[in-house]
């Protein structure tokens, strides 16, 4: 309307704009990676090949070796290590206990983590930052130190037992440690953040208006949770469950410190076989069986939960 002088001034600007356009075009084409950009992943590839693939391969070969009492292994190859591990009920029992403990730990983590994650995702409290730190705190201290903390609490003459004995609640003290309970407590405590964080981010991505909509349609809080929030946060639950399960069945320090060797689990057993019994081929076979079992359980879990999440993007 009353800006004709400005309109005239835009002449040079328009020229400048025209010269920018082709540059922009070149930028777009630059996004296509040059041919030898594969070189960029070479360092990582080399690193992984040397320090992951090669040792794994070495272990795989080891697991097929003949055992020996005087050397690391005897000449020749065999599948006896695997048949022994899979047919001896002792080893199968340890494997089963490991998987069950992992599953129970995962389930307890889900039950504890979900309310925390929901609260964190939805709160507008000024303590939110502090709550985050609280959730992450298990990651801030080394796992060994945390286990010693639990030992002080759970030991036969630890804080809890002394307290209940003094109060006259029990005579002999409760078996809180050197059993699956103690190990489970340690596992849940240490791995809880790995459950909270994925669930938290899943819930944060759910529009709170969906909950309002469900309420307006006649759903109570509980039904809104069951029909809307939990189904929509399943990807977070799934991710957290996989993380916690895999970490739990392969945990070594926690079972050693809180279970001593009284709780028989695969990781401790493998280390025992390798270090104490010097049965490298058999230990290697057990390690592969544990990894494979974990993989199978995770695969079945993904299949099962995937069916529930079919409607999700």
């Amino acid at each position: 309307m009353d800006h004709p002088p400005i309109a005239l001034d835009s002449g040079p600007a328009a020229v400048a704009g025209a010269s920018v356009a082709p540059r922009g075009g070149r930028l777009v084409s630059a996004r296509r990676l040059p041919k030898n950009s594969v070189l960029l992943i070479l360092p990582t590839l080399l690193f992984l090949a040397c320090f992951l693939v090669a040792p794994y391969f070495n272990m795989l070969v080891m697991s097929f070796r003949n055992p020996s009492t005087s050397a690391v292994y005897a000449p020749g190859f065999t599948v006896a290590n695997y048949t022994r591990a899979l047919t001896d009920p002792y080893y199968f029992g340890v494997l089963a206990q490991t998987v069950v403990l992992g599953a129970v730990t995962t389930l307890i983590c889900v039950l504890i983590a979900y309310p925390v994650a929901y609260h964190l995702a939805r709160t507008s409290s000024r303590w939110k930052g502090l709550l985050y730190v609280g959730v992450l705190s298990p990651l801030l201290v080394g796992v060994v130190i945390r286990c010693y903390g639990w030992i002080i609490l759970l030991a036969n003459n630890g804080l809890i037992n002394n307290a209940v004995k003094k109060l006259g609640l029990v005579k002999l003290g409760l078996p809180l440690m050197y059993n699956s309970f103690g190990v489970g407590v340690g596992l849940v405590h240490v791995f809880l953040p790995f459950m909270v964080l994925p669930i938290l981010s899943a819930i944060q991505s759910i529009d709170p208006a969906l909950e309002d909509a469900a309420r307006s349609l006649g759903a109570s809080r509980a039904r809104t949770m069951a029909r809307i929030v939990i189904p929509l946060s399943l990807p977070g639950i799934q991710a957290g469950a996989i993380l916690v399960f895999v970490l739990s069945i392969s945990a070594y320090v926690i079972p050693i410190l809180l279970g001593a060797l009284k709780v028989k689990l695969m990781p401790t057993l493998v280390v025992q076989l390798l270090i104490d019994a010097f049965l490298w081929p058999f230990g290697a076979a057990l390690a592969f069986i544990l990894a494979a079992s974990g993989g199978i359980v995770v695969y079945l879990f993904i299949r099962a939960t995937g069916r529930l999440m079919r409607g999700l993007r």
């Binding site: 469900a214 309420r215 307006s216 006649g218 109570s220 039904r223 999700l312």
Partner: protein, 356 residues
């Protein structure tokens, strides 16, 4: 059909007051819009009716029954959200059946009701799609259908058209209006878009700072605003300061202004010498080369300073004797040019003294 009564509703968030002593009665089958700038308390009012906001003071009654303490799920409301809030993990049919399941409606009746409402919103055939497979307008209609299928006592719409593009938004206004009339449901509609409110509503409630400033139909709000604030929020206006000179027998006031005498309407009883602020809408003014030729026309003379062409109208800014500028909207083919000396003519009926 349900009558909604809001009585002395007040809500504070911390020290900020969102809704301040708001009372209104919404009749059976009436569509009332809450119109105001963002932060005026319209959404808080709507969410109080829905039950998502607990008022500090006041009551909300449906048909005389106090529902203030009921949770949302027990109020029998249908609500449509700005971003539709369709359940992404459910198909259209599942979205619609959700509310019916909560009401334990029998399976075959459920199917019938869903089919019927899908027909009304013209979405038949899309019931097995997921929300993400629908366009914005279709999602909008699913949200409407979901709110209607439960046959709620009250329908609440929270800026339901804000996320649609301009063309679709205009179509949907008429769609929602005719749908609401057909279903005959008492409706509260929140919007910041005045044109939307004017098209859609039986009555408009203009809100600022948590308070009701004016309630009335579109004509009343636009042509007879109660305050300068309301006049400014809805459409463009010219304001001319003056003093009452006399009142004529036919109910008009003569106001003495620096631009000359203006004959205008008022709902107030004013005495000679009272201050008066006269409002004239730009589109009420005609440009002419001749002074007014009948007593019912007011005339202000000036010189055209700017002219701009907007396709459907031509806008003029006319510089008047005392240095003030009158905004005028003329037909786009009007020939007035910058520099012309013109008369701005407007009917006495269209000049309005704003009560202060």
């Amino acid at each position: 059909m349900t009558k909604v009564t809001i009585s002395r509703l007040t809500k504070r968030f911390g020290t900020a007051i969102a809704v301040d002593d708001l009372s209104i009665e919404i009749g059976e089958g009436e569509l009332v819009s809450l119109l105001g700038p963002s932060g005026c308390g319209k959404t808080t009012t709507l969410r109080s009716i829905a039950g998502f906001v607990e008022p500090d003071v006041g009551q909300i009654l449906f048909d005389g029954v106090d529902i203030t303490s009921l949770p949302p799920e027990r109020r029998n409301i249908g609500m449509v959200f700005q971003n539709y809030a369709l359940f992404p993990h459910m198909t259209v049919r599942q979205n619609l059946s959700f509310g019916l399941e909560m009401r334990r409606v029998a399976r075959n009746e459920m199917a019938e009701r869903i089919d019927a409402v899908l027909d009304i919103v013209q979405l038949a055939g899309l019931e097995d799609r997921y929300p993400r497979e629908l366009s914005g307008g279709q999602q909008q209609r699913v949200a409407l259908a979901r709110g209607l299928v439960i046959e709620p006592a009250v329908l609440l719409l929270d800026e339901p058209l804000a996320n649609l593009d301009a063309k679709l938004r205009e179509e949907m206004r008429f769609f929602i209006r005719s749908l609401q009339k057909r279903v005959g449901i008492t409706t509260v509609y929140v919007t910041h878009d005045q044109a939307e409110a004017m098209v859609i509503s039986d009555r408009i409630v203009v809100m600022f700072d948590g308070r009701i400033r004016q309630i009335g139909d579109a004509t009343k709000i636009y042509a007879r605003p109660v305050s300068r604030e309301v006049a400014d929020f809805i459409g463009l206006s010219n304001f001319i300061d003056g003093r009452v000179k006399a009142r004529s027998e036919d109910g008009y006031y003569l106001v003495e202004t620096p631009l000359g005498e203006i004959r205008c309407r008022s709902e107030l009883t004013l005495a000679a010498g009272d201050a008066a602020l006269v409002m004239v809408r730009p589109e009420s003014v005609r440009l002419s080369r001749e002074p007014p030729d009948n007593p019912d026309l007011n005339g202000i003379t000036g010189r055209v300073r700017d002219r701009f062409y907007l396709g459907n109208i031509a806008g003029y800014r006319v510089l008047c004797g005392d240095g003030s500028v009158l905004q005028v909207q003329e037909a786009p083919w009007h020939a007035g040019a910058v520099g012309d000396t013109v008369w701005c003519l407007f009917k006495s009926e269209l000049a309005w003294i704003i009560p202060r």
